[in-house]
Amino acid sequence: AQSVAQPEDQVNVAEGNPLTVKCTYSVSGNPYLFWYVQYPNRGLQFLLKYITGDNLVKGSYGFEAEFNKSQTSFHLKKPSALVSDSALYFCAVRDIKVWTNAGKSTFGDGTTLTVKP
């Protein structure tokens, strides 16, 4: 079985400060890991992914995430937050064996990020 936990429902940061949105996962094998953002009245928008290779992954809009296998974490980070980063963020995992769980991703419950001016 695969699962994802986003321990924080809400993250509040001031504009210009660094932000972190936490994600931990569980899979039986090796993971593919994803971060998505959802703005109001829109569908999920892909930010970045970890498949293999460098543990630090850089994505869209200045976001990055670090894969930590020992801690089974994939936290999303940005060095300097913008008010426009305020949105709902979802972490997702799928087992690298495509046939496991029919190749479907499991999503976390989401974290609402609010960046205040």
């Binding site: 829109r42 569908g43 928008q45 690298i96 029919a102 190749g103 479907k104 989401g110």
Partner: protein, 113 residues
């Protein structure tokens, strides 16, 4: 558990055929979405709908079209299938408001030969 259904689950079809992928939900959700996903890869939004008679194109350009005549039904149509359309198509819905979680259907794996 969410009640969102997709048919067919698997489809192999020849180039040039017209196909419709069905998606239905029984939760009364206003918002529905179609995503395209290649194996091991991320989801890409191709269409979404806020409610009946409301449809919008998503982030990934797609030759497909959608309709939303009833709240519970959000079919996706390809007028002329091509091998480049081979992918997995996931339908999702959400209630909106304070509940932003999306519920996903089981997906349709489409192969165009």
């Amino acid at each position: 558990e969410a009640d969102i259904y997709q048919t067919p689950r698997y489809l192999v079809i020849g180039t040039g055929k017209k196909i419709t992928l069905e998606c239905s939900q029984t939760m009364g959700h206003d918002k529905m979405y179609w995503y395209q996903q290649d194996p091991g890869m991320e989801l890409h939004l191709i269409h979404y709908s806020y409610g009946v008679n409301s449809t919008e194109k998503g982030d990934l350009s797609s030759e497909s079209t959608v309709s939303r005549i009833r709240t519970e039904h959000f079919p996706l149509t390809l007028e002329s299938a091509r091998p480049s359309h081979t992918s997995q198509y996931l339908c999702a819905s959400s209630s909106g408001g304070s509940e932003l979680r999306q519920y996903f259907g089981p997906g349709t794996r489409l192969t165009v030969t």
